[in-house]
């Protein structure tokens, strides 16, 4: 549980720090006039969806941290074997990195208002992401064909579980990607999709980092 605890302590520290900053040296029982109220604090000066995404990523990180904690605790078991890491995972990782790069470039294009580049960037990152998912399925296939079934060993079970949870998160992102791309293809102004593109970019980078961590975890397995 150490990993989950470390993550949570970090997160709680940030939350607490922010909340305490909001609350020390404030004397709520004194009133304020309207002039001060105009400058009063109205949220975090970020769009609500961005804050929403941030909170969601915290929840997702909690989930992954707990999975990794569980992985490490279970690894202590005597029946644990080394995971025969399918080679294709290296390729998949590269594809996911490219997808992230494409997203980043889409975001830059959206900021500059270049519709054509947004279009091509979105399509590129979408295609790359779907290829990544296909690659992951292929890895499953290889594992399965080689007889490394899910129930045969906890190391295999964790492999399937971690990749599945990560893949489902990516699918969720691709749903937003679909809606955004459909809008772009219909030719809406860039301004209308800029926020969605930014959200996708953040989410893609996040999932890339998660994948790299998970991959490292899967590679680092003792026998």
């Amino acid at each position: 549980m150490t990993y989950a605890l470390i993550f949570l302590s970090g997160l709680m520290a940030i939350v607490m720090w922010w909340l305490v900053r909001q609350t020390v040296n404030v004397k709520p029982w004194t009133e304020q006039r309207s002039v001060e109220i105009m400058q009063g604090d109205g949220g975090l000066s970020l769009p609500s969806v961005k804050v929403g995404l941030g909170v969601f990523l915290a929840v997702a990180t909690s989930l992954f941290a707990l999975l990794i904690s569980a992985y490490h605790m279970r690894m202590m078991g005597e029946d644990w074997t080394k995971l025969p890491v399918p080679r294709v995972l290296w390729l998949n990782s590269a594809v996911l990195i490219l997808a992230s790069v494409a997203m980043q470039r889409t975001r830059a294009a959206a900021r500059q208002g270049q519709l054509e580049r947004v279009k091509s960037g979105l399509i590129a990152s979408g295609v790359l992401s779907f290829s990544f998912l296909a690659g992951q399925l292929w890895a499953w296939q290889q594992m399965d064909a080689a007889g490394y079934f899910v129930a045969a060993n906890p190391a295999y079970a964790f492999f399937y579980l971690l990749t599945a949870v990560h893949g489902l998160h990516l699918l969720g992102g691709l749903w937003v990607w679909c809606k955004t791309t459909a809008k772009v293809l219909r030719g809406v102004e860039v301004g209308k999709v800029r926020l969605s593109v930014e959200l996708c970019t953040v989410y893609w980078h996040y999932l890339l980092v998660v994948w790299l961590v998970l991959f490292a975890v899967l590679l680092h397995t003792h026998t």
Binding site: W29, M38, V55
Partner: protein
């Protein structure tokens, strides 16, 4: 009163935050079924939660019948007794209390109290309810599948949860786990809304430190839930895989009923860690909203500002943070390194400090307050009693050497019912009596309410107080029948009978409450906008019940905290949060020439001097 000509504060600039597009439903279905209005979603959550809570109540009655009068009822047998225990516990904790506090009160109160038109993501909010309902239906379905619901105890410990000897080890447990997973998904959707609405949608002037404590409690509880539920989610998925695909995450190698099972090397302790990593924060997920609500009920009905508002906020934060580092106090009996146990005992005792602070502050708020013994106030005071009671036994159980002999006995059952069952439920009742007038526009019947309170409150003591003694004697929990032992005397059985009678009375009396809810909806006394003369924004809406969008044409601006009660020199004994400072002087003069009641008060208070001028 026309003397105040220039009042800068009377002018409120238009909101600089863009007003959200509200969804405008036309049909009945859009308005009340697929509604995106947080208030309607709140009521949907509340009705579903109370409905499923009644099932859990009936189950507890059946269990008590068995414990009080063993062998008298042939329809109760050892295996369905365990199923009833499990379903009762899980429903009460998750599907009733969590859903009601966060989905119900959270949805209703957060937008109104922070001065927002709605939650920030209304569509997601709506989906949240339907996913919750689906989870409830899945859970209820487990009563009808082959083998019935799971009987593994609400803690669902493997390996027994999925072994053939346990009732519901095939269908029941899977339905339970899948239902929990859906509950968590639905909750996450709602939880994102509650957190982001508090962060982003506060109206002008509503700083974090002007939030009513109710919002603070719900806010922090939601953060805890968002971070802790993933642990339950992970364990639910992994156990489902163990059950269906035969993986060995939690299942060790074992021989069951003479057969070697295909499991190997799994770790039941891992499950316990994951479960309690969620399970302990869960206690605070239901307690923190209750803390917040009680603070507000006490302040309103004692006509006093809450004692130590900032301390209350910090205590909520401290409890929230600490609640993640105490989970293993539920695992003292699983065998752990003594230093580990020492660490968790210490953190457990430390968390008592902010908790005790809150209790002192409630009592100090009551101290010399102008206490109105309204029904909400009675429930709030009742909560303070039961909570102190359960909290003290918690201090005992937090110590390893005390816990080891007592865990697994009725003492634990008595402890957690006092602290996390009865206490939050009393707050739920108090809150319903308090906010029902806003939700429906009518008051609940006072006489019935007082009757409901006294029977419930005294009944609780009659049920749980003696149960501590049964625990001392060594009467175990989750036992269908005791049989004969050398250590439990005959008289324990008569005590059990008495407890059962009290439990049945308390259970039956809830009908009076339901009757009151329904009767008052049609026939109750009209409440007016602000029957309790409270300061918070939900009582200042132009319409009661508030319309979709809550606040009419312009959002309120907030000038003060939520606790301006009995301010010396003020005309009334409360000043709404959205009343500008200048207005008070105006109100004052009005009072001086119009109402002798106000004037009398002013006499006592010395020279009237508007604060803030």
């Amino acid at each position: 009163m026309t003397s105040i000509t220039h009042d800068e504060s009377a002018y409120v600039p238009p909101a600089e935050v863009e007003e959200p597009e509200l969804y405008h439903p036309k049909s009945f279905v859009g308005k009340y079924i697929w509604s995106q209005d947080a208030k309607v979603i709140a009521v949907q959550y509340a009705i579903t939660a109370i409905g499923v809570g009644l099932v859990a109540l009936v189950l507890s009655g059946i269990m008590r019948l068995q414990l009080g009068f063993p062998h008298a009822f042939s329809f109760i047998n050892p295996s369905n007794y365990l199923q009833f225990v499990t379903m009762h516990g899980m429903i009460m904790v998750i599907y009733l209390l969590t859903a009601l506090f966060l989905g119900g009160f959270g949805n209703y109160l957060i937008p109104l109290m922070v001065g927002a038109r709605d939650m920030v993501f209304p569509y997601v909010n709506m989906v949240s309810y339907w996913v919750y309902l689906f989870a409830v239906l899945l859970l209820m379905a487990s009563f009808f599948v082959p083998g019935g619901p799971t009987g593994s105890g609400w803690t669902l410990y493997p390996p027994q949860a999925i072994l053939p000897g346990t009732p519901g080890a095939n269908w029941g447990i899977v339905l339970m786990l899948v239902s929990l997973a859906f509950f968590i998904i639905g909750f996450t959707m709602g939880g994102l809304n509650y957190v982001v609405t508090v962060l982003q949608a506060r109206t002008r002037g509503m700083t974090m430190m002007r939030l009513p404590l109710t919002v603070w409690g719900i806010f922090m509880a939601t953060i805890l839930a968002l971070l802790a539920f993933p642990a339950l989610f992970v364990s639910a998925i992994m156990m489902t895989l163990d059950q269906t695909l035969g993986t060995s995450f939690f299942m060790p190698a074992l021989v069951s009923q003479g057969q070697h099972l295909n499991y190997n090397g799994g770790s039941p302790i891992l499950f316990q860690h994951l479960f309690w990593f969620f399970g302990h924060p869960e206690v605070y997920i239901v307690a923190l909203p209750a803390f917040g609500i009680v603070s507000d009920l006490i302040a309103v009905h004692a006509r006093k500002n809450i004692f130590g508002y900032r301390m209350m906020v910090w205590a909520i934060l401290a409890i929230g943070g600490l609640s993640f580092v105490v989970w293993a106090h539920h695992m003292y009996v699983s065998g752990m390194n003594p230093y580990f146990g020492f660490f968790f005992a210490t953190t457990t005792l430390i968390i008592a400090i902010p908790t005790a602070l809150k209790v002192y502050n409630w009592v100090l708020t009551l101290w010399r307050g102008n206490i109105h013994l309204t029904v909400p106030m009675l429930f709030a005071i009742g909560f303070v009693f039961t909570f102190i009671n359960g909290g003290l036994t918690g201090l005992f159980l937090g110590n390893v050497p005390v816990d080891i002999p007592l865990s697994g006995t009725m003492f634990v059952v008595a402890h957690f019912h006092m602290v996390m069952a009865v206490s939050p439920v009393l707050v739920v009742f108090g809150a319903i009596y308090h906010w029902y007038p806003k939700i429906t526009g009518r008051m609940l019947n006072d006489t019935l309410g007082k009757f409901h309170f006294w029977v419930t409150f005294l009944g609780t003591y009659a049920i749980y107080y003696p149960m501590h003694y049964l625990g001392f004697l060594g009467v175990p929990r989750r036992y269908y029948a005791m049989g004969t032992t050398v250590f439990v005397p005959e008289s324990a059985q008569s005590l059990n009978e008495a407890i059962t009678i009290a439990a049945l009375i308390v259970g039956a009396i809830q009908v009076v409450f339901l009757y009151n809810l329904i009767w008052s909806y049609f026939k109750g006394k009209p409440a007016g906008p602000n029957p309790w003369r409270a300061t918070t924004l939900e009582w200042q809406t132009p319409h009661t019940p508030p319309k979709h969008g809550n606040f009419g044409a312009t959002l309120p601006a907030v000038y003060r905290w939520a606790y301006d009660y009995s301010v010396p020199g003020a005309a009334e004994d409360f000043i709404p949060q959205n009343q500008p400072p200048g207005k008070k002087a105006k109100g004052l003069e009005q009072a001086l020439d119009a109402s002798d009641l106000g004037a009398q008060k002013l006499d006592g208070a010395g020279t009237p001097k508007p604060i803030g001028s």
